[in-house]
């Protein structure tokens, strides 16, 4: 089959390594060898890699920098929280929250993909900064609409309770499944024929069109996939936090996504992953040792990377070690 073929390429090795490592950590956590706070580090890493890759499909692969990508993250989270709180009584009486969670997630992902398709058809005609700004606009429209939601706790906030005997351990695997799905989808998108088309669009949209790439359709597909992946992460994030707040629509999350992609390097599958690791390390270090300076340091790093390392860390590795290129797609 087509797909299994992709999953045997050398460039997939790193992905498999990640899946195995995070899987082993999960098993150890479930068996009680690893503390919750250590496991939380891995969960955070999964989330960072996940949201970075979700944006990468449109920003890094296709070249369209979306500053409002968080809108899909938020929609996924909102509908998950909405469903879980709607059926809270059932859950409290011992109902299985996972079916409801899955339902909420599917609604969130579905609506995100739908929104991406409809809005994308319009805004993807814009290039460069105009697209970025239109997506910011989109995020604010949805955010303000969401804030008028009077259900839940009011002010657009929704609380629910899905506590279970081994909630944390189970949640690790919820993250893990989302992680595996994201990695595989993002990877296949990158290395498939579709990915070549997206790369052509990123490098030169007009040339791509003339060569035979249906740029309009491809951009929309990429946007839909990116939206769907972001929605999955919004969904599992809500699940873990027991709530949804309008802050899940805040541009700060978009900022995280963009910074990880920029640091890691645009145009690759491995870039956002490396970016997420580096970002996470910076994030933890600054939070631990220089909490007040975290943003200052991050900002300086972004400026430095954009100015002096435009290809990002992955680009640096790829150009310094051409032999590794086939592993670092």
């Amino acid at each position: 089959m087509e797909i299994t073929k992709y999953l045997k390429k050398p460039s997939s090795y790193i992905m498999w390594l990640l899946i195995i490592v995070f899987g082993i950590v999960g098993v150890q956590y479930y068996a009680g060898y690893i503390s919750a706070s250590t496991a939380a580090i891995f969960m955070d890493l999964m989330k960072f890699i996940g949201i970075a890759l979700s944006l990468a499909v449109i920003m890094s692969y296709t070249g369209y920098v979306s500053f409002g990508h968080v809108v899909f993250f938020g929609i996924g989270g909102f509908f998950t929280a909405y469903e879980l709180s709607k059926y809270s009584q059932q859950i409290l009486q011992g109902g299985n929250p996972y079916t409801i969670f899955l339902m909420g997630m599917l609604i969130g992902v579905g609506l995100s993909v739908l929104l991406a398709a409809t809005v994308g058809a319009a805004v993807l005609r814009l290039r460069g900064a105009f697209f970025a700004i239109a997506t910011i606009g989109l995020d604010y429209v949805i955010l303000y609409l969401e804030m008028t939601y009077k259900g839940g706790a009011g002010g657009g906030e929704i609380y629910f309770n899905v506590s279970r005997p081994r909630f944390l351990e189970e949640t690790y695997f919820v993250f893990f499944i989302a992680f595996v799905i994201t990695l595989i989808i993002a990877y296949i998108v990158k290395v498939s024929k579709f990915g070549y088309g997206l790369a052509a669009i990123r490098e030169d949209e007009d040339a791509a069109e003339v060569i035979g790439v249906d740029t309009v359709r491809y951009k929309i597909y990429a946007f839909m996939i990116a939206a769907g992946l972001a929605a999955i992460w919004g969904s599992v994030y809500s699940w873990r936090q027991f709530n949804f707040t309008p802050e899940n629509f805040s541009l700060g999350i978009s900022v995280d996504m963009i910074v990880m992609n920029v640091i890691g390097g645009l145009g690759t599958f491995i870039g956002p992953i490396i970016g997420a690791f580096i970002y996470y390390i910076i994030y933890r270090l600054t939070n631990t040792y220089l909490p007040q300076l975290a943003y200052i340091i991050l900002g300086i790093i972004v400026v430095a990377v954009v100015s002096f390392l435009p290809e990002g860390v992955a680009g640096l590795i790829r150009s310094k070690f051409p032999n590794l290129r086939k592993y670092f797609e």
Binding site: G154, Y159, R240, T245
Partner: protein, 428 residues
């Protein structure tokens, strides 16, 4: 060749990752011995981030209460003496950190009881852990009613829930202003919404007339439209607010647009000492509901019927507070409510005469105690606080100085309420 190398490398890495925690687990065995007779209380608190000021206060309040108990012979449970020990982590005001730290507190540090983190959002993030392991968690900074409608069985509240925030203020309005026409202008957030839902119900109950009811969004700076609409609706009492900045701007806008008001009570901002500096003379007459104030005089001398005195007196607690946190001049309400959480927990343990969480939780249902923080009593089903009243503080002018006075409840009031101050209600 290259491929084999890569696979070999991967296998090595995987083995290392798999082995490390197991080895570490065998190496570092941590056993808890009962010979010290300690009761471990765990919490995370925000020493960084947006709740850092409140977090520091709360931590000092807790430590002061613990110190008082330990200095006064500890606690006797089932014939054995125990001292209290606090284990805390800094959650940096971040939801993500809360869950893992609480899980660690329970599984690694093996604490007996939990205190919640500061704020409703963080409390909610920690609640699942309490539920999962069946450990009591006392909420001292989470006012939202919604926490207590989610079916968490071990979460217990010591502070007044959001729905009761304006009860005292509205009682004042009903008593003092017969022709009151109320405008509700508040932030569109879960907390303010909950507060206002409660306030609306109470106003209805009291038969007060509400002529305007609207919200503004977080981070807003434009209040003129709302203020003008409310003014034109003929409102003469303003109830609302949300946070610090919006509170200031709201008051400022109301004042600068010539809105004549007899009484104002808004959330949070006026409770801060800096408020008067921020809005100047417009602060006169502005009131705020507060959980507690250092001038409040709850003492063993005025215990109402049905309650018993428990824990340190205000003076004792203040003294302990200054010993553990000499750098903080005046404890704020966050410190008092956190201290009261310890008192409530200890009284629960004493009453159950056991360290078993289920037993203590049962015992708490029957507690009715009067503390330096005021009366405390919980709803057995939800763990929600039902006895503690809000006090109302108001900015007043004394000898040319702007000061905060308590105007409600009457038994701990330090001044008469100022209704229709000349600044806001110019006559003629």
């Amino acid at each position: 060749m290259n491929k084999n190398l890569a696979i070999a490398l991967a296998v090595v890495i995987i083995i290392i990752i798999a082995a490390v925690p197991i080895l570490m687990k065998q190496g570092g065995g941590e056993e808890t011995t009962e010979e010290y007779g300690t009761i471990k209380i765990g919490m995370t608190i925000s020493l960084q981030g947006k709740y850092q000021t409140e977090g520091k206060q709360a931590l000092c309040g807790v430590e002061a209460a613990i110190k008082w108990y330990n200095d006064n012979g500890g606690i006797e449970v089932n014939g054995k003496k125990y001292k209290l020990e606090l284990k805390y982590y800094d959650d940096q005001s971040k939801k993500e950190l809360v869950q893992s730290y609480y899980a660690d507190l329970v599984t690694k540090d093996k604490v007996n009881f939990l205190l919640a983190p500061y704020s409703s959002g963080l409390t909610l993030a920690a609640a699942p852990i309490s539920q999962q392991y069946g450990i009591i968690m006392i909420s001292h900074g989470g006012a939202s009613d919604k926490i207590f409608s989610q079916g968490f069985q071990y979460v217990v509240q010591v502070l007044t829930p959001a729905s009761k925030y304006f009860e005292s203020s509205l009682k004042l309005v009903k008593e003092q202003i017969p022709d009151a026409k109320i405008a509700f202008i508040y932030e569109n957030s879960a907390f303010s919404n909950a507060v206002m839902q409660g306030a609306s119900q109470i106003a209805q109950q009291y038969g007060l007339q509400v002529v305007y009811n609207n919200t503004y969004e977080k981070g807003q700076t434009e209040f003129t439209s709302l203020v003008q609409e409310a003014k034109q609706a003929g409102a003469n009492v303003l109830i609302g607010g949300g946070h610090f900045e919006d509170g200031q701007i709201l008051i400022n806008t109301a004042y600068n647009n010539g809105w004549h008001l007899k009484f104002i009570s808004i959330l949070v901002a006026p409770a801060q000492p800096e408020f008067a500096q921020a809005v100047g003379d417009a602060a006169i007459g502005v009131a705020a509901p507060a959980q507690w104030h250092v001038k409040a005089s709850y003492s063993p001398d005025n215990v109402p019927s049905g309650y018993v005195w428990a824990g340190p007196t205000k003076e004792e607690w203040l003294q302990a507070f200054h010993e553990v946190c000499p750098d903080i001049e005046t404890p704020a309400y966050q410190a008092a409510e956190a201290g009261a959480a310890i008192v409530f927990l200890v009284e629960g343990i004493k009453s159950a005469n056991s360290l078993d969480n289920q037993a203590v939780r049962q015992a708490m249902n029957n507690l009715a105690i009067y503390t330096f923080f005021g009366p405390l009593k919980i709803d057995p089903d939800t763990g929600k606080q039902i006895a503690h009243p809000m006090i109302v503080i108001q900015w007043q002018e004394q000898n040319g100085q702007l000061v905060q006075e308590i105007i409600y409840p009457p038994d701990s009031a330090t001044a008469q309420p100022l209704i229709a101050p000349a600044v806001w209600w110019p006559t003629g």
